[in-house]
Subunit: 116 residues, 2 copies
DNA sequence: GGTCTATATTGACAAGCATCTATATAGTGG
DNA sequence: CCACTATATAGATGCTTGTCAATATAGACC
């Protein structure tokens, strides 16, 4: 029986980092390019520079992206671990959904009752 | 070049539904069982019944779970599409992260400059 | 050093969301 | 019908988070 999930749970951190329209747009742009300069996020994000910077910070701290400074420019790229971490969460869902598939058509089986 | 992501984007809906400690705890519990009665979510979620119900509604509307009423009881289970949807997002991240791997060790290659 | 561009940080504010109490709704049984 | 249990909904409230303007910091160049 799973216990309470803490707000600082790594999965929560990851999901919350991705669960914002601006940040998802950033991630999608990074998904199609090896890396992107911070200055080039203007077209995906119709928000101010400080807001972009703030979002990039959230993504960094959640382990979704990493940054590399080259002179005055800062380049961002996605971290492979973020993909595998999200994959693992998807697997949990798949496992539960898979377990229900046999029960779905077999409606004649005994119906589960709430635990006593 | 990706455009802005809308708050109603299906991926955002999915991620936001998962990005809450209580809801992730619910999903994790469902991940280990074929289905769970609404009345049995008490141990994973140290919140009131109406709050559990509210969270279950969010998950339903985001397409993460589906509900089935049997008499006075309501049973919930995970939807397979939620797993594949999350998988697809993970793939976007993996694609971007993979594209950066060759560049990582090849630091002697010409350095990307911000787009003009 | 000063000046400039790029980017991160700070602080205020508004909007959105999680939570609860109270209550409505759904379903069962007599 | 009534009484009961299970669960969803409504509304109020407090907290969190996204946003911006202002500013600090980082780096390059003279």
């Amino acid at each position: 029986m799973p216990t309470m999930v803490s707000p600082s749970d790594p999965d929560i951190r990851l999901l919350q980092a991705l669960a914002d329209p601006v940040r998802l747009a950033i991630v999608r742009q990074l998904g199609g390019q090896p890396e992107v300069c911070a200055c080039d996020f203007t077209s995906c994000c119709d928000v101010s520079q400080p807001t972009v910077s703030h979002h990039l910070k959230v993504l960094r701290e959640a382990g979704v992206v990493e940054a590399e400074r080259r002179g005055t420019w800062v380049f961002y790229r996605l971290r492979p671990e973020a993909a595998s971490r999200l994959q693992r969460i998807a697997s949990v869902i798949a496992a539960g959904a898979t377990a229900t598939v046999p029960l779905d058509p077999a409606r004649s089986l005994p119906v589960l009752q709430p635990q006593a």
